[in-house]
Symmetry: C2
Subunit: 318 residues, 2 copies
């Protein structure tokens, strides 16, 4: 699918739905609002849908006057644009919702994309859906301004960890060079997205780091229980990223975070520098990616931890 | 001073000394070794000098077979190239050392540079000295390879906080796009430089976060004493960056880290989101930059802290 074909569909139609995946991340949010802004400024009618709420730290990207709607209240339109989803189920839309649209455009950067759309613009080598979107908008003469550029900037930096992950390419940097020339407040946005944390997060981080346990200098384990979390006033989303403190210790190969919820169930996050922890998670009926995976386990904490540590040590020893 | 003029000096001479500033950072180290590698591969004789040791995390950039020498053992050469220094005293060289060289080339990106060299290539808008150096080497046809590119990549990412600081420009991203095409292992390097920390750092971070105090939700204060540091096995350099945890709390305007050394002296670090803390530091006979400053203070910890907090609250209230 060429940029021109997608461009034509966007220009020739009048009514649009835009959606990304459940539990939206920076690339989802940034891409949705960038495209919504561009289409709105061309006089199109645009609705943006999400199953889960826009995370607080991305709310500054919501265009003024636009109300983000729930997936359950989909209204008919000519075109549905699905962003950053490898398959349609990732949207959280029912399959009947599909019928509300004449055509579905699938715009994504996941190599696992199943080409579910009537039109599919999929570039597996792009760092983020926002990177593809910028090329589409700029090459095909769509409106671009500082607000659109800031949304796309957020899309790119969140999916690349501010250009630190392997999915970054020289093209990512060139797109970003063009983007920030629209006047993007990249320093302020980066501070807000990467550095700032609510006080409850910091309190929880402090308590969690004090639980650090090291096994043969290779496995680092942190534990949080629900009581600690509630005492700090922290949300579940505040747990995100804390497991990296375990992984990031020099010499450590696998970092583990065990979260014990109130019902005797444990949620275990695994992060690695090199090892394929999705394979380790599979031993516990979990899954994930090469360097980030997880699973759930029930029972006694001490017994479960022993089992997890033993499996982890065997895994890296093998 | 044009690139061509500096290029000619580099090409027409045979013996070089290269130096950067005391307490070298990633830009110093990356720039020195990038230039050293380029000149060595052209058959030049090159000595690299530092007053302080190369920090452990940058040691992987030292060219094989090159011995980094102390500033006290400067040997005569035709050209001394001073990198990333706003004035000559920043090198840590004695003023007599100046006489060992026929000409001094001053290559820097600090707007405060005093043009102390015989030749001065100063670009205040460059994010890093490494950014200027890449343009010089690539435009003037110097050898470039993956090792040189990795050194320059380190120079740029450390001075821009991986493209997050205000000194980043679209030119920085374009230079980086060209750089990484030489095969830079940007993901591995970023992990090593930004994310990985020795165990003693993590232990010290854990202990330090438990000292967090908040004043009117605007001032956050952390304290480390020498005993804590030694118990964790941490070096003084492990303190770097911990003050940011105080500053990075949502709503906090100034983060403070008080380090109490063994002699009843306190070293105070200040970081701000917006406020000009160099002005606050001046009240205590200290100094620094707009968002990062510090000072030393003697006496009783509780009294000193009260004084510092009071001054900080007045400072942001005014």
């Amino acid at each position: 699918m060429s940029y021109q074909q997608v461009s034509r569909v966007l220009k020739e139609n009048k009514t649009f739905g835009i959606i990304s995946h459940v539990q939206p991340d920076g690339d989802s949010i940034g891409s949705m609002f960038a495209l919504a802004r561009a289409l709105i400024s061309m006089g199109k009618e645009v609705e943006v849908y999400t199953r889960d709420p826009v995370p607080l730290k991305y709310c500054f990207l919501i265009p003024e006057g636009l109300q983000v709607k729930d997936v359950k209240s989909v209204a008919p339109a000519e075109i549905l644009i699905v962003l950053d989803c490898s398959d349609f189920s990732r949207t959280g839309l029912s399959s009947e919702a599909w019928e509300c649209f004449s055509r579905v455009v699938n715009l994504d950067h996941h190599v696992t994309n199943v080409y579910f759309g009537h039109l599919n613009l999929v570039e597996g080598e792009a760092s983020a859906t926002g990177e593809i979107l910028f090329r589409l908008l700029s090459r095909e003469g769509f409106p671009l301004n500082v607000d659109i550029a800031e949304s796309l900037y957020v899309a790119i930096i969140t999916d690349t960890g501010s250009f630190k992950y392997e999915n970054t390419s020289s093209r990512t940097h060139r797109v970003t060079a063009d983007l920030i020339e629209y006047g993007v407040d990249y320093a302020g946005i980066s501070q807000r997205i990467f550095d700032e944390h609510p006080l409850p997060y910091m309190l929880l981080l402090s308590r969690t780091l004090s639980t650090l346990e090291l096994y043969r200098q290779k496995i680092a384990c942190l534990t949080i229980n629900e009581e600690m979390r509630l005492q700090c006033g922290a949300f579940m989303e505040d747990l995100d990223g804390i497991v990296n403190y375990a992984k990031n210790i020099e010499g450590v190969e696998i970092g583990i975070l065990i979260y014990i919820n109130g019902n005797g169930e444990m949620k275990v996050g695994l992060r690695s520098k090199e090892a394929d922890v999705s394979k380790l998670a599979e031993k516990f009926q979990g899954g994930g990616h090469h360097r980030a995976a997880g699973f759930r386990i029930n029972g006694d904490y001490a017994e479960a931890k022993e089992k997890i540590i033993k499996a982890s040590l065997e895994f890296i020893g093998g």
